[in-house]
Symmetry: C2
Subunit: 275 residues, 2 copies
């Protein structure tokens, strides 16, 4: 597999950073993650916009323009020749002289084969637990997953698939996905503040707005428990129904009509995008 | 300079990690930092204990025993031949197959020359600002400094030297140091919960307990503003008086008697340790 580091295409196994990099020393880096479908990078403009926004918000200057990056990405798609893949772009705080002040960033692009959840997986849905937490600087897609990884044992112990961050009784987001609820009246609700601006979330919102009443606003934990349907959105999982929250069954334990409708709309939307 | 990575002594410039390491991918690593004085690693047992505690709390298994590590550290002191130095030990989440689940850790030791603040610097003191924040898993010395580095612009803009994290009107800690206050009645107070267990803090507490009334308990922001003296403790700075909080002068703008006394006691304590 070929990867890209700073301004060079190199073998993925040779992509190394010196231990002085701020990502290693201080967990100081941002990243983004998008995927290709049939060799086409899905919603690439939106992902690049978010990547550049994260960089600006954290005070790091990307090494390339968006157009240059598209060229690099297309070159990797051509060289690696994997139809269905995930791309990770990481921009770090660089080799800091004092291990604290950001320097010239290091930039890495890694491509890997990616398998999305099957339709069976969609219909099986997932069960989740809740955890009181809000990510630091949640609008920035930083590499800070300390809490997420620390929580993995709790998730396993409780035989759940995912943990949803909640803060002061308001649902926020999953460590790597956004949350949606559908009220009993059929309104699609998703939190807007203190969450990452998920690109799949953005696309699903666009699709939902054509058919349903949509509200971007704080979603209380109580509303979540009382929802007709709950689902997550993520780049690597598209849409997955949440069918259990702690011990409470949601949507009678099977994907709800609106979740299913949005899932099918999203699949068609992807197809259209790639035509 | 010679460094150490996993089980090898190598040139510091050759200490690299593959980009698949969880420290780069997910900011998932712990570390510790101690210093040598006249070739002697100060309070090494305490630092090693904290390092092993951080590792255990986060679920990483160190590659060495404490005794083995002492041997490696002594070998580095001998080879690099720097009397006054700082040692950083980093233990990462390793090369994770799925970029999320920790694997066999990578372990790095880096040694660098270190200059501590002069007596002039001590007498000049520092000015600080406050910021509402509590570190994730604060008892763990993780590499998560996203907020600390993000705040450096705010600190500069306000012409301060440091930022103190406060949460719900309770003072916690600096990004890389602990906080102490001395009340007008001469009681030495330092927070005990939701802060890192600083080794210099621990030593200063031992010295303070011989002479003063000491309280380890929540310290309110109001108490801080009304304190007779405020100071920080850190490995790289020993004790530094806080002489300004936002616009308010503390201790008439010069180091207080108890701060000075503890500073001198600490210097003597260091000397004794190295005899």
């Amino acid at each position: 597999m070929i990867a890209y580091i700073n301004r060079e295409f190199i073998e993925e196994k040779d992509t190394v950073l010196h231990t002085g990099d701020l990502s290693i020393q201080r967990g100081f880096a941002i990243f983004d993650y998008f995927r290709t479908r049939n060799f086409i990078p899905l919603f690439i403009d939106q992902y690049l916009n978010r990547f550049f926004n994260s960089a600006a918000m954290i005070g790091l200057q990307p090494l390339h323009t968006k157009e240059e990056l598209k060229g690099v990405i297309n070159e990797l798609i051509f060289r690696n020749n994997i139809a269905e893949s995930g791309f990770k772009m990481i921009l770090t705080g660089g080799y800091s002289a004092d291990s604290f002040e950001p320097a010239l960033p290091n930039f890495i692009i890694l491509q890997q084969p990616l398998q999305l959840p099957t339709k069976e997986k969609f219909h099986k849905g997932i069960s989740i637990i809740l955890h009181e937490y809000m990510r630091d600087l949640p609008e920035i897609k930083s590499t800070n997953y300390l809490m997420a990884i620390w929580l993995r044992d709790k998730v396993k112990q409780q035989k759940a698939d995912e943990v949803l961050y909640v803060k002061d009784n308001v649902a926020l987001e999953f460590p790597r996905a956004n949350v949606f609820a559908v009220t009993k009246a059929g309104t699609v609700v998703t939190p807007e503040e203190n969450v990452l601006n998920g690109i799949t979330r953005m696309m699903v919102l666009q699709l939902a707005e054509k058919k349903y009443t949509v509200e971007k606003r704080p979603l209380t934990v109580e509303e979540l428990y009382n929802a007709a349907e709950v689902f997550l959105t993520s780049t690597t999982r598209r849409i997955l129904p949440v069918l259990k929250i702690n011990d409470q069954i949601i949507s009678e334990g099977k994907p709800g009509a609106i979740t299913l409708n949005l899932y099918n709309s999203f699949l068609r939307f992807e197809e259209e995008f790639c035509k």
